[in-house]
Amino acid sequence: MKLGTNQITTTQMIALLSSALIAVGIFTLPRNLALKVGTPDLWISTLIGGIFSYITCLIIVSLCLRFKQLTFFQFNKLIVGKWIGTLLSVGFIGYALMIGSFEIRSMGELTQFYLLEETPITVIVISMYWVAIYLLTSGINPIARLIEMLTPLTICIFVIVILLGLEVFELDNLRPVLGLGITPVLKGLTPTFLTFSGTEFLLVFIAMMQKPKEAKKVALIGLAIPVSIYILAVVVITGGLSVERMKHQKWPTFALIQEYEYRGVLFERFESLFLVVWLIQMFLTYVVCHYVAAKGVATLTRLSYKKASYMLLAAVYFICLIPSDLNQLEKMGTLIGWTSFAFSFLVPALLLLIAWMRGLKLDDEQRSSA
């Protein structure tokens, strides 16, 4: 396909959805899960959470397919009217900005803690923004291409680094399965679902797909990849560290990687490798968020997309510096999680219901007649 078009292929879409989902959760989910669940059944929670996310994806897909080639920002007005629609759009833009800032800030905190102790966090954060804006200003096509190129690579390295943790794996740490019944598993659904925020971006991206009919396939594969990575990570971490220790480790994923050492291979330790790959992934997630927000602003106002993305840069920078410490950052994460629940489940479900009741549908024939 040609550079500069505004459409993305199915493969690109799958890569985009997976990398939007693999983000800071890979560091925070294991501990949050362990705290809530407390038994070795963490992986079951993750699996159920993944299935639930798939259902929400299906809702989003069927909603978007009713309004072909229109983004969320455009079709919500058709369903609920101008005012509520604008309100929803503004909320969605704010949410995308928040999640982007959250990812960038978490990225900064972790980089500072593990890699660049003396470097001011603003420097880490700003250097990330600059690279991002260079990519962002040219629109969706280069973004999708970059993601398509990087995601397979990062996923491979993720999987390898996590699998290497099998050296310290003990199956007994995962047993017994459902020892205390199903209740602990259900408690784990909240953090899991909050981690899988990112599916709601489909609301915007399906409109740009070359073959929107394949959106269901995208939802399935694009969700299956990150969910299986999360399950793999949770299983290996539980086996390697034990649930008790996961509760007491701020970043269990990193603790697992610090636990093993391979002598006589190319690398002895894998922390840096993992962090590098993870930074790429965080960057991609951030770019997706920023793109969605800029697209929204451009749709709502008369600003061009390019100008909007430059302006949002400032907003993102300020939002990301609001939390003063890690605890507040974590609170922000929870807030994002609940907002995500609203935008990936409640809003699409309601919109779909209203659209269905009012019989609203916009396909190609209507469009040409309109």
């Binding site: 660049l116 102790e117 047993r175 017994p176 560290l241 220790r245 603790a255 610090q258 636990e259 050492e261």
Partner: protein, 386 residues
Amino acid sequence: MMSKGVVRKFSLCMVVLLCLSGCWDSSDIENIGFAIGFGIDPGDDEQAPIQLTTQVASTKKQGGQAATAQQGKLFQNITLKGNSMQDILRSLALQLPYPVFTDHLETIVINEDTASDYDLFILLDQMLRDNVTRSSPAVLLTKQTAGDVLDVNIEGEITSRYINNFFENESSTMKILPQKRLGEVTANLIAGTSVILPSVTKGKNTVRLDGAGVIRAKDNKLAGFLTDNEVEGINWLSGNGEGGLLNYKDEKGNTIIYEIQHYKAKPKPHYQNGKLSFDVQITAQGWITEDWSLTSNNLSENYIAKLERLAGDEVVKIMEGTMEKLQQDFKTDVVQFYDSFRIAYPRDYQKMKKDWDTYFANADVQYDVEIKIVNTGDLVKEGRLK
């Protein structure tokens, strides 16, 4: 001829490049001290109750030549007193002109007095919090001064690394406990279970692994030491060993050596009406690698069966000895019976985990050992009488 715009852009790029070369966190490797080992001892006064020996690898070359002052010494030990680990580590700055990094830490040796006075969790706190210390260093105990142990100078070796390398021998003998990494110790401390740490002693110019120390869960303090032979029992009971030898005698008093290729230990818990018992099932497979009996035919099935039975009896004896010490003297479960119980009775374990060591100490233990000899080596003795 380049246009003005291109020149301008080009020089701008060059200026930006300048920024790239400077890294906030760069430090030259020649100017870093790498802490390879820690030795924790009691300090003698109240103001400074902890004495920390830091073993720093020598990376410095002086005047273009390797340091010759102490021939063949690859490390430098610095012993300082203080009231907290971090404080002592920072005091190193007064003695060592380059900053000390702990991300290559290999070994932590703790003196027995410190271990019986302090909660182990407190002693390890700094290392667990620190962002560069990994959870892979081995934790050991010693009956001597930890600083002295680290001071042993073995030619061409850094003592801490030397000690850590002992654990590579795990498959040669049952008298070595598996390496206990800092991370694993943490897991035990957090889960509130007792933990066993290998112990190290220094000879004149050597160091050796020598039994193990038991840290009880009640207060995370040292309960006592086990000997080499009792460690053998621990390995049989926990199933964590990598193999090694079983040394026993046939009924005529001839020495037999059985080499374990692999073995499994399975404690089966039973819990009824508040009564806890364990059925320990051991299965092992291995070779006969030395047999002092001159009169036996080692190809005869009867003979092999007899050796297998005798080996099984010996293993039971070893385990009973260790178990008695664990249950009566120390009252601690360091053979991970809690794991099998947790898996079999998850709900009961939730209630019992606080006083698990007491339950363990009062449990009945039965043994069921099955030893298999799959090979008797290259030599065939036909069992002729002298």
